[in-house]
Symmetry: D4
Subunit: 255 residues, 8 copies
């Protein structure tokens, strides 16, 4: 994109249609919008195919609403993560069709009928891992993926997991969400040869050290095919899973 823009500018300069000075300014004027406390990266949708996402944590409801307003004004869909109810209220005040998923802590606005294709499977070890899993579900859906969720199939009752073996095999990519010792990622990694995005959670106490135990566990998985994101980072897992799913979708359609 940017490359072709530069080429066209240069051709316009060569054709005498614009001055060198104007061309230079255009090259410098990259498409982000500066609203003081934030610089909104509208260019991201062009560059990455995905609109900028708002991480609400650490921002005031007013800041979130102001950023959301600019993203929506640009015609993009909206995804705001780690949103508390007051963040949602602030966004809804400027965009009544905004929706809130309280377990996922996400605010969403969908600009068009969502096309959810492919198969991202999100799996959790326990009930307490659900908020992180739902954040992954929401994120992947907003990026166009069809997503399924299987909860509470941790390794303490292995038969619960094995009962879903066909579901595991059918997915293009798996997001495995687990706290405590995080063994679920390794076990699933041994069952299927699909990319697995593992999300350690801060579920647990004592020597789980707020997610360090499952983080280390997942990084040291004896099964290959497992890559890891930050503790409790359902957004990150859903994002990368959706990218992978997008490729697989195209591939499977072909066969």
């Amino acid at each position: 994109m940017k490359e072709s823009t530069i080429r066209r500018l240069l051709e316009q300069v060569a054709a005498g249609e614009i001055t060198p000075e104007d061309a230079f300014e255009s090259i410098r004027q990259l498409p982000f919008e500066d609203i003081g406390f934030a610089k909104i990266d509208h260019h991201r949708a062009l560059r990455c195919g995905v609109p900028e996402v708002i991480l609400c944590r650490g921002k005031t409801p007013e800041q979130v609403a102001a950023i959301a307003e600019r993203i929506l004004a640009a015609g993009s869909s909206l995804l705001a993560t780690r949103a508390e109810p007051d963040h949602f209220e602030a966004v809804r005040a400027i965009c009544p069709e905004a929706e809130y998923r309280p377990v996922a802590r996400c605010v969403t606005v969908r600009r068009e009928e969502p096309v959810q294709v492919g198969n991202v499977l999100v799996v959790t070890a326990g009930t307490g891992d659900l908020p992180v899993a739902e954040e992954a579900v929401t994120t992947a859906e907003m990026l166009g993926a069809h997503v399924e969720l299987i909860g509470d199939v941790g390794v303490a009752g292995l038969h619960r997991l094995l009962a879903f073996r066909e579901d595991l095999a059918r997915a293009n990519v798996l997001v495995v969400v687990a706290g405590m010792e995080g063994a679920l990622a390794s076990v699933i990694g041994g069952l299927v040869a699909k990319p697995i995005i593992a999300v350690p959670t801060s579920v647990g106490y004592g020597a789980s050290f707020a997610g360090i135990a499952p983080l280390l566990s997942m990084l040291n998985s004896c099964a290959a095919g497992v890559a890891v994101v930050n503790i409790d980072n359902g957004f990150g897992a859903g994002y990368v899973a959706a990218l992978i799913n997008g490729m697989a979708v195209a591939g499977q359609a072909q066969g």
Copy 2:
């Protein structure tokens, strides 16, 4: 696979072709081979589409050769990682066509002409990251991927990286290998919307703490789309990248 085996067994029982007792034994006799100190998972190729890989570290040359012999006897290709020269010698003694890549520290035997398709791009921040990067290259190639490598484009000289922007955009999946502060993964994550498998390396000293600094850096990437494997785990990164690439290959062929 296993499911159809079970179904067929049950049908044979129903047809009176085999006794229930024999069927039960067959179900229990899963296809691994027990050679005393190791249980070789021939089933893995069936289950995961990928033959078992030998991690040489912590095994004697004799142990590695014995495991390699059984894998080769089953007709599989061979990949042995973290191989020292004496591991290679032991394997070559039983299989003269074995090859050794000293920088990657890998022993390989390819059973058929390799089909290397798609586009896995491995990028390193510095010269010292090459051994880990080469392990990723070898692994992804053994799993059927076409792999390219761009070295020494760390963020201290950003223009070196930007010069390869088209290469970044062309890849299906990127493996980013970096030690020290590991910033390269975030920077590339901001440039392209492709799945990025980040590999922190133990390159560095002092407060890099043998790879903890880039590991944390990569886990906290402010750019989405980055998932992380263990420190120095070129094998793991190459493996998951090859899985992702396989899907994308099918997709791009279609277009």
Copy 3:
């Protein structure tokens, strides 16, 4: 259990009593109950001889009550740990005979007159370790053990401990609960040749690092016979102690 079920199914298939397809489905339908946010492992009682235990931490009172209802409906006794008063109220609303032990933070329902046999001895270093110790007591009792508790016998006043030497010698298994430096486990380990389950607690401040100091202390015990569970994990200690006690009970009855 499961093995005999499979054998019987196969025999039924051989006898033409059920079709292969139905047998396959039965093998897949393992006995857990899916209530959406949780998958209750009724099979556990069969598999492990112990009903599933609810960890309330991270679950809403409604979730806990819903899970408890299904466990109770299956005729099991109930143990819910880390229960806050509102968890208890929610369970009592569906089961009036539920009891709450506030120090242990446990909700219990006993389906039959408890048979508490053998001798599990729980010992604490200080008064602040009592909640963890009581959790261990409750757990072991719910699993059928006779339990005794000796509190506040830390090594700063060794004669307090030595006064209970006969009690230590009489136990089948000891649970030693200690925070701060956790030296009590080593000292008791040097006094008796019984299995000792050590529980580090988060009692202390500063360089106790919320239980890391006694955890490391107990893992490095210079006395043999000491195994360790997670920080503050009274439940885990009581559970494994009850398993050991069960064996010893059978043994001592014989003599």
Copy 4:
């Protein structure tokens, strides 16, 4: 300063103007003021060219006001950092012209028209880093620097940063404030050959470990020219940047 005082005292002793005993007492009576809970270092302005700064954290409003009163009585300007609103109220009660910057959490009293010269550039990766950045801005301004601030130019959208490349090049010294993975310091370090004072922030979650991730990142910067202060230490960064700027100002004036 002190040296000349001692010399003069010795000359006065030699001249018989003061007794040896009085001279000795004068040497011992160094210029700090003891108000019980604090010893105010009025000597600091002489010794370091900078008045003592009050860190409000851990002090009561009364303590802060009492210290401020003594500093102001000595004719100095005042800077109080990590000030909560009640700290400000206590200072304003004794000095109505005191000002409060709520984002920076600083109370200031300027005794003379501020001369803000040179060019300290403070750059932040994200919106959440603003409080720390504003503390740096306030501190450097109170020490006489002209300061500019560019916010929200983290590496996830590199073009946002590159748009300000001229601003980076114009500064005498840069303060780079970033949480999460802290990559911004390395990237800027690769773009300009100016001293960079990097401030890791506690912005982030999970494996950012309250600032450890960016701290390690910045300490391991692959770009030279980066030095680091404590997590969230905007004051420290602004202070050292102002010292460096002071030198550069003198230098550039000469050209």
Copy 5:
């Protein structure tokens, strides 16, 4: 033991058979033997039913041989762990029937025909865990247990483990030895309701941090019934497993 000795002494004093002063000395003369650099605890066999074990690590061959000589002179069997070949040579020089198990790194002298009863099952995740597992086997055997060993059944190939399900169910107590992510302990804990002594090993690299990853994993096991010993502590695991097995043996004999 000691109690009855004291009682008898007091009765002898009452009977005038010995003086109070001599009785006092006898109480003080506890049965250990001081050989300068070590104090050998012969009393341990009386107190704990188990002779003192020599940890060779950190002791010279001469020191080990001198301690071994005193233990053997007391008629005890001998177990020396972490023994290098030169430790063994030094012991064999004073006791020709000493045996050396090089993988387990143990020197043993058995005074009587070993009675190995019950069923301790040692399970390892990988080939690299064997030295630690063999140390556990040797220790438990020296304490009178019948021990079986199943190696290389890590969770990356779950069917390898499930093939041994009957063996797991038959054991009185299990020792689970695993490095990397240590998930095997949780998985086995979900399969059987037996006491599980988990041993994390330093097998692995990078973020396994020399055994911290499996240590944390095992401490946070989502399956109950798991207690943990120090990293690589095969001796400690074998010791506590033998204690538990001893009780179970008595119990099962009864049935």
Copy 6:
């Protein structure tokens, strides 16, 4: 004490004044008092010359009052540390002459006119270190020491410390209380050859990690003569300083 008691008992047995059985019971009945949740070590005063001290943290006001009542009933003075106001109220209800030092967070009851001899000097780096310092002062005074306190003489203004050099030289033992980087202990250790008990405090933020920075600093002091207690452990420092002072007092009286 205990030894002479045993000797006397044995002589009484020899004289036929008491039976062996009674003597044995007396030996077992060591002087602690069991009040259920606590075992009060009255023996401590005999054994250590110091009454038992109550750590209120983690105990309810009722528990503290109950323990205090038994200690006071035994005629001892009382020291309760980490006491919140409600702990004090509970103690005052049973002992109206109890006093509360809110900064030190200590409750005290003195049974006799305190004899405060010798010279313990407590020095703090900053105002925020005062609560810990006052806990040390109170503890050492309750153990009979004369204590002086110099506050806010951290190394950022070295002349403040040097002004008190004579005071440093006059003390028998110094307690140095410092947070942040804890350099004060090393500096004082280089100035005087007296035992220095260093107390790291949790004063600071960011990379002080709640006291780890000064703890490590003090443990690595380049000046000899420095020993360290737990973070924020003013009690422990005051206690050991009082023990040392007691010896020095006797020594100086002699000269």
Copy 7:
């Protein structure tokens, strides 16, 4: 630099002197040199005013020599750090005038008579800190600074430091190199108001944790004006100090 190049290119396009396509290629062809395993950043001298420095650690002598050859071919001076003798030999083989400083572990080639101006003062706490200090000295000298070194003035003997007070006051910037507890940085920070670049070293043992203790100490300095580089990073400290000194030099020349 780059900006003016782009402007000129655009003017040449406007003037029809070069085609748009050629201009585009020129923009892309940034001045680095790709020699396979490394990409040499000749542009750095233009961009940063400082030639690229070779970190020898992790590179073979052949790699170092090949990179050095290209840098020297470009007419730059050469600095190679962490150079072992065989690195030096390889460089000397291609450039006989190369010099080696064994304590600093640096290889240097100076292209012109060095102009060493200003005043960088490097101070060490102990003799063991010298290698790191000498690396800083060499680096700063290669960047044009006049450097002085004062060694072994740690705080355990404060008078040694105070004797050099005038030297401290005269410097433009100070590099403070210290291991163990690293208190020297804080103490000097309290004495002078100059920018201080603190370098923690791995000198020490035990709880210095290979430099973590002085690193934390320096980050938490209670004296303002201190910024920190990586453990043992003499190069980084010398580099940033030289940048600061360069500004001060210009400033002082003016007066």
Copy 8:
């Protein structure tokens, strides 16, 4: 000392015996000796009553010998710690009466017949702790203390320790040296009311983390009276114990 020197100088100035300028120089010329790589603190003996001690670790034999020569030339006794045999050889070459204690790794030269008074008791938990204990013994003896050593009385065999209870009670100060879990310090702290200097050692493996486990254990001792020095720091413990003993000696002589 220094104070009186200054007073006398001032009086000489007042009397016209020396000029102010000369007096100033004298004040500045503090008695240390600069030999290039080291600044020998002869003043320390005056200031602290103890000559400077050489830490050999990190110094070459030549450096150690050069420093030793200057100390000996000043008439002091010599103590060099962490001395390898080649350090000793270098010292013996310049001072034939130098002695070497290989277990303690110390080189000593005693200038006068040692007066070893008082009672420092060094106690070790295990045989492996002896080198650290012997360093403490040597250090305390060189500072004039009478020292006794009791080895191998760890808490795994408590009766071994209790047998030495009288010895514990007789000491003025105890040095407790222990690795693994370090429980010995707490147990002794509960038995006697004497100052206890605890030395954690790096003896152990796995989760002892090279001494972190006993370090934390000792810092969290539930018994009061325990202060801690760095891991393996026998020198530091012996030093502070000798200071305390010196006071007690004076005190006991008086009685």
